[in-house]
Structure formats: structure tokens, C-alpha cells
Symmetry: C2
Subunit: 181 residues, 2 copies
Amino acid sequence: MVTRETRRAAAIERMADHVLAHGLAGASLRPLAAAAGTSDRMLLYYFADKEELLAATLGAVASRLTAMLDAALPAGARLPYGALLAAVWTAVGSPALRPYMRLWLELAAAAASGLQPHRGVAAAIMDGFVDWAGSHLDDPDPAAVAGLLATLEGCLFLDAVGRRDLADAAAARGDVSAAAR
Amino acid sequence: MVTRETRRAAAIERMADHVLAHGLAGASLRPLAAAAGTSDRMLLYYFADKEELLAATLGAVASRLTAMLDAALPAGARLPYGALLAAVWTAVGSPALRPYMRLWLELAAAAASGLQPHRGVAAAIMDGFVDWAGSHLDDPDPAAVAGLLATLEGCLFLDAVGRRDLADAAAARGDVSAAAR
DNA sequence: TCTCCTCTGTAGCGATTGCTACATAGCGCG
DNA sequence: CGCGCTATGTAGCAATCGCTACAGAGGAGA
């Protein structure tokens, strides 16, 4: 069936829009179906259950995000630690990516509670980030990758609790400590 | 009424136990009431609504957390950046504090969505952390405080998505960069 | 034409949500 | 004693949750 897969794929994209706009908390079947232009009945026809549906939707969100990251910093470009941190934070802290970051935080919180599919999806996304960081640092030392990601996710966290000022300061400080090394 | 305030306070402590064990997601009135040894009816007699109840419960959790932090690193002790980062991460990453960190992450995610009382409670807790960090760094430069907190929350985040290895590496790296400065 | 088989709408289930109306039990105070 | 206030149980409300049973519609193949 061509139409079936087509419609399923279209539903995934529209549901990705919806979770980006309303978060995981508002991701129940009926609102998702309304956003996708179908019924909850049909969603459970396309997907075995909500878990499979969520995994597909979050996967779509993740590939959008990596596409945006690649657009902001093309593959092949390698930067020193401080510069990369600053560049990624300006990209990631921008309003365009804010819905993604809100969702990413929500996903991490769910993953910490061990729920599926959140745990698996979050682990996969994080693996992607690790690869991404490794391929954009001029010196992809594992400890540097870890430091970069920790600072970055920490900035995200600080921003989430309303301390954007601290996040900006921490991202800027990356330059300082790297320059001093 | 002595008994009323007493029972209300006892309920708060038991509910704090419950949210630590089961997270915010499981924090609905009936389970909370069961944990507190009362009925949902009585919880809404003690508290105006769920929002007030949650604020009180999360406040209790927060004061327990600051007490544990003070126990781990007494007030007055001041350390250089890298040493403080390592000390706090070993405390905060320990199994004893894991429920607190899981809850803190969940709270941050809810705060990012702008919900009350989560937003206000999270902001208050974060202010406490900022003060705490400032009073335990030997050189309480605002940028250093920001960097410390970002790295710390980032380690928390990495641990949440199953990359404890990266969190440990990032925390250890704090020493390196500080030593090189 | 008849018969399957795929697709989809309707309706509903039992559980859970925050919250409330009502009744009552028991105690203090006049 | 009797009145009233505080405390608490019972029962239920409307909404939402994920999910499912059933029925029909419509096209494909015999």
C-alpha cells in the first residue's frame, strides 16, 4: 500500500510538529490525532501502540534537529573547544531551536525515570550528539567531548530554569578556560 | 489547632518521600494521599489545591537537599574550582542523591514549559544553588559560578540519559582545566 | 455478481484525573 | 443541654487516558 505508508509518514511529521509545540506532556492520542488530521483510531491502526508511535515521532524530531545542527555548523568544519562551545550555544540557544531543547529536556527527564521508549530514544540522540561533537572538535579528545557536552547540556538546563544569564556566562567562559590552557 | 498544622506538616514529609520515590509524574492526589496516610479529600482540606500542595512538598524536598549538600560540604569550606566540582559531583552523583537529581531534572523540564508552581519552585532552588556555589568557591567569580553550575547540571543531564561515563569524565576534566589555568 | 480483505468511523470500556457537594461525628463554648 | 464549628468520610462529577469491539464502506479478484 503506497497510501498507507505515505499517510503514516505524513502523520509522523505532523505529530512531530505537535510535540515540538506542546511537549511530551500534551502528547496524548486524541490531540496528536487532531494535529495529524486523523482519529486516534487511525493512529492505533498505523502504530501498534503509543510507545511505537512516540518512538517514530521522536525519531522524526531528532532527525530534524540534526539537520538543523548540520546547517548551523556544516560537517567537516572543526573548531577549537571554546569556539565550538560558543557557536553551538548560540545555535542551540536561539529561539528557533528552543522547542527542540524544551523537548530534549523533557525526554531526558523521562529517560531518567527509565520509561520506554524515552530511554532508548534519548540514548540514541545522545550518541548522535557525541559523534557530532567528536567530528567538530579540532582535538577530539574524549574528555574534551565530555566537557563540551556537559557544559552545553548544563547551559540548556540553566536556561530552562530561567537563568539564561548563567547559561550565557558559562558558554562564554568556555573560551576563557580554553584560551588559558 | 495544633493537630491540624502537625498533620499537615507530617503529610508534607510523607509526600516528599513519595515524590522522591515516584517522581512528579506519579504525583496525583490519590497516590499522594495514600503515601501520607490520608485521603485525597483531606489533602484538599489541608491545601487549597494541588498547586499549593506541590509547592509545599517540593519545598520540603529542596530543604532536605540543601541539608544533605551542607552535610557533604560544610558551610565555610572554600575550594578551588576543579576540586569543588569534583567534590560536588561525587556527592550529587551518589546513589543517595539520585532520587533528588531525577526529581530536579523533572522539575526543570516542567519549569521549561512554564507551568506553575514548577517554574517558581525551580527558580528558587536554582537561586539556592547559585548562593551555595558562590560561598564554596575560593574565588567566587560570577563566571566561575556559572561554569561550575553549568558543568554540574550537565553532568546530571548526561547521567540521566545513560552516559554516566561522560558525566564522570566531564567532572574530572574540571580539575584539568583549572590546573592548567 | 459475489466474496473477501483493507481501511476507517462510531461507540464505548475501565481507569485515572482534580475537585466538590453532602452528610456526619465529635468537641468546645455559652 | 444545645448550638455551632472543625474535621473527615462517602460519593460522585465531568474530563481525559490508552485501547478495543463492532460494523460498515469500498475496492480487488474469482
